[in-house]
Symmetry: C2
Subunit: 333 residues, 2 copies
């Protein structure tokens, strides 16, 4: 936590999680009744039971909004992050990584309460990821831990839908949204997960028609949100509700929807999808970085595609290559 | 730890370490006065100071002999492993991984004393790895923790040179060697590191002329051991001192030396060396697996090359692909 300087281009808020990632066969999911590509909240005991059956794993910092802020830092802007860990081994690991990548971590780790959040991430042979998250300390983020100055002075706030699952953190994020709006800043939001959309459907409809300016989600999440059976229907439905909606469509690229325009963005091809964890998070990094820099929407989407392509080409949800070099060589930015 | 069944094809003994791996520019090494490609022993404070300056990292189980046993398990034989962790977070992670991969972990984690060993592994752009290891709990392996039955009943013992650095663990490994020899088993040994060779030169010369049957090392380690300035000289020097010597030569493959023969093994080409950590360990996995299965020495070396190629093509010192499938498709075994 930096007390001295909290000026950021963007502040992200979400669950601070360390990913425990293994590669598993498809039948691991059916054996544990897990829905592929989704995130399930589990208690510590269930997390341990799943871990026990997992193949050897790597541990890498994750958390959706944290991944997005990490990507923005690597692209060259100045992000801040609000997400809570305990000062245990995993928490120290998380804090090391987020600070080392150049993100201003705005919440002091706690010395009491549940341990740092962890997600058991099961990557199947097609590169899909299925997550089982024990929220631990991340669910104890209180409203009075929101750094008012940082949120008010950043042009953008980025909110993770996952954080809506806990009343405590929901209060904190609502406060952050109201601080951002009062300061005249833009609020961006990611739908996170189809089950999340279903759990919070009514509240999110109000939120999206209200303070949210920029909305991210994948095709399935937009279908769940809109209630439309087709992508075209969902595009018509969302148009005008938010200033900008970004719909990611995996190997089909993405669609940017504004009141007056629909912009198709090609995917950036990769040789092999090793692990799709973080694809949506890094798309948001690229898109928001473009907005921060005042670039046109098509270029914002293209930076998103490039950042997403980097992260799915290896295990782990944070980039391993220089995103600045990638966009400089591919887009001459 | 499995009390019920300790029958193994091979037992490995070494420092049980979790790797904390980051990709760093070359100047990180000079700034910290580190010798590229070597392993330095550091205290906890120095490990933390290096960690503080490292880029975001991943945590993955490591430890030279543990990596070798992991590779042997993935190839389909039954290895055991003697190496000590504490029952802290890193220790649980290490034990999970070694058991999940199919290695019989033969030492109970300790609940007291220093924390589980960790190595700060700095991978530079050419894929070289430079390691800074805090030995912690791994240095408290006592002779009475050597599982007599497991060592006596396995056809092979595999000893890591690194473990020679601490008097306590050296006593333990000497006991394991004497148990193996008394039972009529083969003893294999890896030179580990040029600085290790220099530190223990006289003792290792005696060991190699004595109980060691199969010796592994890279070119630089064999030059340091033999005192010869050329590989050809080192090959002549080692011939006859051990039954089989395997000299790994990075992109030039490896050379197998017996009393009567010198067998050159081609390297298995990879597109890019991402992280060379574990290359020697996995070569040993492949070679020893071949010996366990009674294959000819050339095939043993080829399995070693294939296993090494897999592990250097990604970050982390344990294989991520099925070694059984690789050798089945490449060598029809």
């Amino acid at each position: 936590m930096s007390d001295s300087d909290t000026s950021c281009d963007i502040v992200g808020i979400g669950n601070a999680i360390v990913d425990i990632i293994s590669h598993e066969a498809e039948d691991f999911l059916s054996r544990h009744h897990l829905v592929k590509n989704s995130m399930s909240l589990v208690d510590e005991e269930t997390a341990l039971a799943i871990y026990k059956e997992m193949h050897p794993a790597i541990q890498a910092s994750g958390g959706s909004a944290a991944n997005t802020m990490a990507g923005i830092a690597l692209l060259g802007a100045s992000p801040g992050y609000i997400g809570k860990v305990k000062d245990d081994e995993l928490g120290k690991f998380f804090v090391h990584d987020i600070e080392a990548i150049g993100v201003n971590h705005l919440v002091k780790p706690t010395s009491s309460g549940p341990p740092t959040a962890r997600s058991m991430v099961l990557v199947t042979p097609d590169g899909s990821r299925t997550m089982n998250t024990y929220l631990g300390a991340s669910s104890t983020l209180y409203a009075d831990e929101i750094n008012h100055d940082a949120v008010a002075s950043a042009d953008f706030l980025y909110c993770e839908g996952y954080i809506w699952d806990i009343e405590t953190t929901k209060k904190a994020i609502r406060l952050a949204i109201s601080i951002a709006k009062e300061a005249g800043n833009k609020v961006s939001f990611t739908l996170s997960d189809t089950f999340c959309v279903e759990r919070h459907h009514q509240e999110w409809l109000e939120l999206i028609s209200g303070p949210v300016d920029v909305l991210f989600g994948n095709e399935a999440e937009f279908l769940a949100l809109s209630g439309c059976p087709t992508l075209e229907g969902a595009i018509d439905w969302i148009r005008g509700k938010v200033e900008i909606a970004c719909i990611t469509e995996a190997q089909n690229g993405s669609t940017i929807v504004t009141t007056g325009h629909t912009i198709g963005i090609d995917p950036h091809q990769v040789d092999k999808v090793v692990d799709s964890t973080g694809a949506g998070d890094l798309y948001a990094s690229g898109f928001l970085y473009g907005l921060i820099k005042g670039l046109d929407l098509k270029t914002c989407g293209e930076i998103g595609s490039l950042a997403a392509a980097e992260v799915i080409s290896h295990t782990g949800a944070r980039p391993q290559a220089s995103l600045q070099e990638i966009i400089s060589s591919e887009l001459k930015i």
